[in-house]
């Protein structure tokens, strides 16, 4: 008997080739991200290595003066790091209470319709360009604060920190709210059934259950604050200053990088290379914050 024709056999080699090409193209789009990370690390390390040939790592991390543009030149990055930290702390002092308070209100107290209206409006705060915040800090907040602190200089850490705090409120509030909304209603009902009041349910049941998400929101807010450039450039000042006084002028890592980029430092010079050593420090700091955040999130994550 004749063998039946191979009806199911593939004669569409062409189609196979086309599929393969398409997959390779899509893959190369995805690999751009890896390329970006490698490029960032590469550029930062490449120039920073040259920098550290001339400035010892010890000096970089322990010297308390940063004056690369003046004589005598000191290359201690601590003032810049501290400037960043101080502004971040101030911004968290604003964002955490207002963000968390808003989140609790929207998820536990507000009726559904109100929540649906208010949440996107709060999100607008995150969408306002940072130059607008910088403008606001410099032209409104600082003069206003000078009513209370006459010794406040035009450029200071406090104004920048407060305004940055307002900017990152939605980060804390939205993510915390999402985390709280994800807590099953059955938990709340169990607490109510025991005679708990609304604020007790919110603070003793919901917030602890949503802790992992709330912490994640804090971490996101911190890393955003650390990396922010415009507000601090416009309002915090350009004087690296290791001080505990927020009313003074300081400079953050980001502010410094912006200043040098706008300036006249010659490519290849030591001053130019400070962009990359400070940039590397900034990058590593943000990376560390994100890793801590992931570790914390895993540790406190509750499965429902």
């Amino acid at each position: 008997m004749e063998k039946p024709a191979r009806k199911l056999a593939s004669n569409k080699k062409q189609q196979q080739v086309r599929e393969w090409i398409i997959e390779r193209l899509l893959f190369s789009s995805a690999i751009v991200s890896v390329f970006t990370t490698l490029a960032i690390l590469g550029i930062l390390l490449f120039e920073a290595v040259d920098f550290f040939k001339q400035v010892s790592i010890l000096e970089f991390f322990t010297e308390t003066r940063w004056t690369p543009l003046f004589e005598p030149q000191y290359f201690g990055v601590l003032p810049l790091v501290w400037g960043t930290v101080m502004v971040t702390i101030i911004s968290l002092a604003v964002a955490v209470p207002f963000g968390l308070g808003s989140a609790i209100f929207l998820s536990e107290y507000a009726p559904e319709r109100l929540r649906k209206t208010v949440k996107p409006v709060l999100e607008i705060l995150a969408g306002v360009p940072t130059v607008v915040y910088g403008y606001f800090a410099l032209t409104f907040v600082t003069p206003w604060l000078q009513n209370f602190f006459p010794q406040l200089i035009v450029f200071n850490a406090l104004s920048a920190g407060l305004v940055m705090g307002v900017m990152i409120i939605p980060m804390v509030s939205s993510l915390s709210e999402d985390a709280m909304l994800a807590v099953p209603q059955s938990f709340r009902e169990g607490a109510y059934a025991l005679g708990a009041r609304k604020h007790e349910v919110a603070l003793r049941i919901v917030v602890p259950s949503a802790f992992s998400g709330i912490v994640a929101s804090f971490i996101l807010a911190i890393s955003r604050a650390v990396g922010e450039t415009m507000i601090v450039s416009m309002a915090a000042g350009s004087t690296p200053n290791l001080t505990l006084n927020p009313l003074e002028s300081i400079q953050t890592m980001t502010g410094y990088i912006a200043q040098i980029s706008l300036g006249e430092a010659a490519a290849g010079s030591l001053e130019y290379r400070t962009i990359f050593s400070v940039g590397l420090t900034l990058f590593l700091m943000v990376l560390m914050i994100n890793l801590i955040g992931q570790w914390l999130a895993k540790r406190y994550w509750k499965r429902y």
Partner: protein, 253 residues
């Protein structure tokens, strides 16, 4: 040797991860007939029919050994084009899943991807599919409407039309009526009997009355194995296996 078996399953084993779902299945499905596959939840009915159009391969962690011969070609051999296989073996799902497109574009999707681009040919193919699925009369004047506007029963017939449009030989139906009301169910049951004149129909069903009404042969499965197979009337009136009898009398479902 002339075979009167359209689909010959030989020693089929399927694992999902470490879960051995189908155990050494050996069965032959007759052509131009309706075969019902029955059994309690989790017995592997859906996995078995999805093995016939190799749709199990979409699931990550699935592993299949054994062979299935359609007209004496092993569909699991390396030379087989799985896309051509799926053209020849159509499938209707438990919940109707028309694409979010127009009625016309739903039925035309299959022919288009298999290379039909001539407008006239497409139109006649779409009409033929819809007629065969007993839906043409209800939709012929609104082919551009969204398929999602149709009722559940109409959507399921649309899915059947979609499968028929690519000229299959076999139709796999996974509990096609379980999401439908009794009237829609009756229409589809009538359609199944008609389709069996031209195609080989395999239906998975939980509903024994439906199997009795519609199918020529019935296969009963339990925990991944074939327990019984035969002409529907005999299986129901004179089950050979105790398990089959228990299922029929409703001791477990």
């Amino acid at each position: 040797m002339v075979s009167d078996v359209k689909i010959d399953v030989r020693g089929l084993n399927v694992w999902f991860g470490s879960n051995h779902v189908l155990k050494n299945i050996k069965i032959g499905f007759k052509p131009n007939a309706v075969t019902a596959v029955m059994g309690p939840s989790g017995c592997g009915k859906t996995t078995l029919i999805r093995a016939i159009n190799r749709l199990n391969e979409l699931i990550v962690g699935s592993r299949t050994t054994g062979e299935i011969f359609i007209d004496e070609e092993n569909i699991y051999s390396k030379e087989t084009s799985v896309f051509e296989l799926r053209r020849r073996v159509g499938m209707v799902f438990q919940k109707p899943n028309p694409f979010p497109k127009s009625i016309y574009d739903n039925v035309a999707f299959g022919p288009r991807i298999h290379g039909v681009s001539d407008d006239e040919e497409l139109q006649s193919t779409v009409e033929r599919g819809l007629r065969e699925a007993a839906l043409w009369g209800e939709v012929h004047d609104r082919l551009q409407d969204s398929a999602l506007d149709l009722s559940g029963g109409q959507q399921q017939r649309l899915v059947i039309a979609r499968a028929l449009a690519v000229n299959p030989e076999i139709l796999l139906m996974d509990e096609p009526c379980s999401a439908l009301d009794p009237m829609a169910t009756a229409k589809i049951e009538a359609l199944m009997r008609k389709l069996a004149e031209k195609y080989t129909v395999i239906i998975v069903t939980h509903n024994m009355q439906q199997a009795a009404r519609v199918s020529d042969y019935t296969m009963f499965m339990y925990l991944g194995e074939v327990v019984e197979y035969g002409i529907t009337k005999s299986v129901f009136e004179n089950p050979q296996s105790e398990l089959t009898e228990k299922y029929i009398t409703g001791e477990f479902g």
